[in-house]
């Protein structure tokens, strides 16, 4: 699935929920399912700023695909991270860098997350795109 298709799938999933509590139940469930990051990666340099809760994120490239893994001390944050990883992980650096991320707005998350949380989500996205950009640039230099 492309990044776009994945986003559309999430939007469809969320459209089933009638109220915000159900959406949160779902997000929390995702959080609980998120494969944990390797403890070795839970270091300060993997910490993302701008959250009331803490998020650690690790990225690596395998066979031309960027793989993200992450953890957080808060469960909802973990669920949100999980959504973003679902969408972006496993794609090329180029695709990630160019991706137009619209699902957060479309499922109404942005205006319903606390400002701190939505800032956190945005800085997480920024971080992921920055990583992709760095990889992309390296690839171009290697060419």
């Amino acid at each position: 699935m492309t990044i776009k298709e994945k986003q559309d799938e999430i939007i469809a999933d969320f459209s089933f929920f009638e109220d915000w509590m159900d959406k949160y139940e779902y997000i929390i469930q995702l959080g609980k399912e998120l494969p944990l990051i390797d403890e070795a990666f839970k270091t300060d340099d993997k910490l993302i700023k701008g959250c009331q809760s803490r998020v650690w994120m690790h990225a690596e490239e395998k066979e031309g695909k960027v793989l993200f893994s992450a953890d957080s001390d808060a469960l909802i944050t973990k669920g949100l991270v999980s959504l973003v990883i679902k969408v972006l992980s496993g794609h090329s650096a180029e695709d990630i860098h160019n991706a137009d991320i619209y699902f957060i707005d479309q499922i109404g998350l942005k205006s319903h997350l606390s400002p701190t949380r939505s800032n956190g989500l945005l800085s997480m996205l920024k971080q992921m795109k920055l990583y992709a950009l760095a990889l992309k640039t390296r690839h171009q230099l290697e060419k």
Binding site: E25, A74, L75, I76, T77, L113
Partner: protein, 415 residues
């Protein structure tokens, strides 16, 4: 012990009161709002909102020195606000009432001006381990500037000041002690009268951060014999951008002005400027006129309900909340001082406060989560933050019940 008379005055008619606060009718995600974030800021009654509109619609004008009618009206009401504040805290004179932007501004004023006059290299400044950042950072800045030392009175695991440690820290190098009357994250009510007496016996003046006190308990600066006292309008039902600094006249006379500008001068030449008398010496620039007028209405509203009645009503609600919250077995209170007011902080085992807060919000319940600008307390208790519910006289037992239900729901989802 509550006397019969006190029982009478506790009969605040909360349903009638709630009508005065339009925001309390708001729906949040389809639930009626339960506002338990009063320590962050209180809601405003129509009386306050209307007095601000009335000012702008009928007599908005710059104050003092004006020759025209509107200026006269605005000045009269502005200075009436000052007298209202004076009476509210029982100050000796309106000269002792300085209008500022808020508690933080008031504390910065003292840290800077008192510091300039009295704090020298090697001197010490005392604060406590339960300060709000606003009562830490200004003193850190001062101490860094002056090469003075900042000492911290520790608190115990209940969240009470350790009085013996305080006494040990008191000596002739201490220039000033700054502490909160009521802690915003633990709810601790400090025995300030006793503390002020002890400080004074060593010749140390005291600044009280009363940001979380004036809206909950009667505060009388003369009885406390406190030297400086700071609070914010927005936490006592008044408008934002407005604060109070009380200072004993003799102290305010002794310290230099803080900011320069219009209002605070007597005469200005490029060679020599002389300063205006109190309180104007400390009020540079056009003041927050609407802010003062709104605060005036807020204090009159509170006085009208009666701060004693408010105290009794809120205390009952506080005890009720403690009891109901105790029924959640995964819940641990952070702060268990004997005397408490305003805020209750807690954590729920194996959950993050932030998650709990978010799920409460989706049920229409507004609490605050995090460090509440008191990071050192969180460090001491080794937690990332707490969930804090803080109360006002417009809150009800029903709302406390909804909080408990909401917490149980959050627990279910998160555990």
């Amino acid at each position: 012990m509550i006397t019969q008379e006190q029982k009478e005055i506790t009969k605040l008619d909360v349903n009638k009161i709630r009508i005065d606060f339009p925001i309390l009718n708001t729906n949040i995600y389809g639930h009626s709002l339960v506002y338990f974030d009063n320590a962050a800021t209180t809601q405003k009654p129509n009386q306050v909102i209307d007095s601000i509109s009335d000012y702008y619609k009928n007599y908005n004008s710059n104050v003092h020195r004006g020759v025209h009618h509107l200026s006269q009206m605005a000045t009269d009401r502005f200075e009436e606000a000052r007298r209202t504040v004076r009476d509210f805290i029982n100050a000796e004179s309106e000269k002792e009432i300085i209008f500022t932007r808020g508690t933080s501004d008031s504390i910065n004023l003292i840290a800077s001006s008192f510091g300039k006059a009295f704090v020298r290299k090697g001197d010490r400044v005392l604060i406590t381990a339960m300060e709000h950042h606003s009562n830490i950072v200004p003193w850190q800045i001062l101490c860094e500037d002056r090469e003075a030392q900042l000492d911290v009175i520790p608190i115990d695991e209940k969240g009470e000041l350790i009085f013996e440690e305080f006494e040990k820290l008191l000596d002739s190098d201490v220039r000033i002690l700054a502490l909160p009357y009521v802690s915003n994250s633990l709810g601790t009510v400090n025995p300030v009268k006793k503390i002020i007496e002890a400080a004074h016996s060593h010749g140390v003046p005291v600044l009280l951060d009363a940001a979380q006190a004036v809206q909950h308990i009667p505060v009388d600066v003369k009885e406390l014999n406190v030297d400086f006292l700071a609070f914010s309008s927005h936490k006592i039902y008044g408008p934002t951008g407005m604060g109070i600094l009380y200072g004993k006249e003799e102290w305010l006379e002794k310290i230099p002005p803080y900011q320069g500008g219009g209002e605070m001068i007597h005469t200005v030449t490029f060679e020599k400027t002389t300063y205006n008398e109190l309180p104007f010496k400390f009020e540079a620039g056009t003041p927050n006129i609407a802010g003062a007028i709104g605060l005036d209405s807020a204090l009159k509203y509170v006085t009208n309900l009666g701060i004693d009645s408010i105290h009794i009503y809120e205390n009952k609600l506080y005890q009720y909340a403690l009891e109901k919250l105790s029924s959640i077995k995964e819940l641990t209170f952070i702060g268990e001082a004997k005397e408490r007011a305003g805020a209750i902080s807690f954590v729920i085992e194996n959950t993050h406060p932030f998650d709990v807060g978010e799920i409460l919000d989706k049920q229409g319940i507004a609490v605050r989560t995090g460090h509440h600008c008191t990071e050192p307390i969180m460090d001491q208790f080794k937690i990332p933050g707490t969930i804090r519910a803080s109360f006002s006289f417009y809150n009800t037992k029903d709302e406390v019940d909804r909080l408990v239900l909401g917490l149980n729901r959050a627990k279910q989802m998160l555990l």
